[in-house]
């Protein structure tokens, strides 16, 4: 930089690339969003639930280890039926390690994904206003438009904010569960046998994060005031849920009017707990004895094989396309 009279200096450095400028939008936006204690709290609750699931995985791992001190300790207190269950599991693992480990992980991931889904909806309600609505309300959108950035660059930057925040809710716990859950298992082969369940969980996370990110951005772009954005998100969440429940009575696919219902069914169709159940009971009649009183109200329409994934996925793609259209139209007029 060369100094001119009067204190004004010329800047002669090399400008950063477009991805770095997009990252600036993301990083600054993330910082603004994470100023909210409530949002940090939601992420904390999600992570705490993940810690709990890690504990469950550790305990399940110990169940499959016949000489586990922990199992002996618990068995002394809970009696023979517990030890019977532990022995049953151990033999199941020995006979069908791939099905047992995969099954346990699918159940854990299914339950965890329900929590992450709810956490995502709550988190979005807390930061949706700080995305595009924030810029529209304060006219800051003009500043972005006046820099060497296109509308696409702006969207990529904003998308990064939602994607990373949702990543903290989905990706970090899913990967941590797999890594630490298996690290505490008695056998390293658990890593291999649970890999399929991890891939399923990652695909669920990717679909949920992309569809929720687009929906959050579209809702944010619809509002010109930050408070309206929050209300709109909560309203859409609750109303579409209610309408979906009503519509489902008439036509089973009517439930897909709700984004949450779509994602819930996609999660179910990905993990297929009905098949896990079936496998477990077929292979070990012992399960029939101990789980005979557990209700099995699996959705019928979702036991249709690949079609179970296709329908909610198609609806999510449709919602994504509508969200993109809203974003395009709403920011064009600014």
């Amino acid at each position: 930089m060369s100094k001119l009279d009067g204190g004004y200096r010329r800047w002669t450095g090399r400008p950063t690339g477009i991805w770095q400028r997009r990252w600036v939008i993301t990083s600054v936006g993330l910082k603004l969003c994470l100023e909210s204690k409530l949002l940090r709290g939601v992420i904390g609750i999600v992570w705490s639930s993940t810690l709990f699931f890690m504990g469950v995985l550790f305990f399940t791992g110990q169940l499959t280890s016949p000489d586990s001190t922990l199992i002996s300790f618990v068995g002394e207190r809970l009696g023979d039926s517990f030890l019977q269950l532990a022995n049953g599991l151990a033999s199941w693992v020995l006979l069908y390690p791939e099905l047992c480990v995969d099954g346990v992980f699918r159940v854990i991931y299914y339950v965890a994904c329900q929590i992450y889904l709810l956490g995502s909806f709550m988190a979005i309600a807390l930061f949706v206003a700080k995305l595009i609505a924030h810029d529209l309300a304060s006219q800051a959108i003009v500043i972005y438009n006046s820099k060497a950035l296109s509308r696409f660059d702006y969207f990529i930057g904003k998308f990064g904010i939602v994607f990373l925040l949702l990543g903290a809710i989905w990706l970090v716990p899913i990967l941590s569960l797999w890594t630490f859950g298996n690290m505490m298992s008695p056998d390293w082969t658990f890593f291999v046998y649970s890999f399929k369940a991890l891939l399923k969980a990652l695909s669920v996370a990717a679909v949920s994060m992309v569809s929720l990110s687009l929906a959050a951005m579209a809702v944010s772009a619809l509002a010109r005031r930050t408070s309206v954005a929050v209300s709109l998100w909560v309203l859409i969440w609750i109303l579409s849920g209610l309408v979906g429940m009503t519509a489902k009575v008439v036509y089973s696919a009517g439930g897909y009017i709700s984004l949450m219902a779509c994602l819930k069914d996609f999660i179910w169709a990905s993990f297929r707990l009905d098949l896990v159940w079936e496998n477990a009971t077929n292979m070990l009649p012992f399960f029939n004895l101990i789980l005979k009183d557990v209700p099995r109200d699996f959705p019928e329409e979702l036991s249709l094989g690949p079609a179970g994934v296709v329908v909610p996925l198609a609806c999510l793609v449709l919602y994504g396309a509508v969200s993109c259209l809203i974003l395009k139209l709403r920011t064009k007029s600014q």
């Binding site: 400008p15 304060s138 006219q139 800051a140």
Partner: protein, 310 residues
Amino acid sequence: MVKIIETDKLCKTYGAYRALDAVSLSLDAGPIGLLGPNGAGKSTLIKCLLQLEKKDSGNVNLLGEDLDVAGRETRKRVGYAPERDCHIPGMAGCEYVTYCAQLSGLPFEAARQRTHEMLDFVGMGQERYRKVDTYSTGMKQRVKIAQALVHDPEVVFLDEPTNGLDPKGQALILDLIERIWKEAGVSVVFSSHLLHDVDRICEQVVIISQGRVLVQDSIASLKKKRRPEAEIVLLRGREEATRAFEAQGWTFDDLANGNLKVTHGHDSLGPLIGVLKEVGVTPLEIKASPNALNELFVQALREGGANVEA
């Protein structure tokens, strides 16, 4: 000299309303005033030059680059301070300017350093560490100018920067705009509906009314130009004076206020004063006709529907 802005028959309409009507301009580097009443098309012209609004037709060259070809990359060389507030709530002044610098392509360290230099340049003190939401109108204007300058542009567009400021605040902002060209060598395109502001700091002026360019010239040249007319306030010697004017072949009219309007045909008032002196008439006052800058501005205001008399 390099032309910083060249437009050829630039048109922009909003529905049936013609905001820019075949605007053709050719402007040199320096402080440029965009003058016209509210709704004349100044902001639309700036927005079209910055591609914030899509033009309907016509060609635009900014800093020697055809906007249709160069696209948004030209904005790396351009700064813009919009008329309305555009800060990001929750950010301190220095954070906001740093962020704008980074959006313009400065690496973080350089952005931080340059932010402080620019905030010093626009006269912001410790208040730079306060949230922008708490700033006065004057401070917000200064921060807007700082963000427009932070990436060291070649030309900066300031849309009505003195709006909403008290006279002292206006004077401070005008001083600052003057320094941008004089000290930094950055061309300034400054839009205003106040003749005084443009007259004070600009070298070139574009007067716009109802989307049309009434004139594009240097301020000095427009100030020199005036119709060869004068209004004379006489208490005595009216007949002697009119006879002398007839002898010179000059035409004259009686005005409703009782004064005499003479078309003398000279650039200065010297010959008129000489003739009156010869016939021994001492006028109470001789008012030269307004210069072209004033006249065209008044014309723009009239076309814009403003009450000029008021």
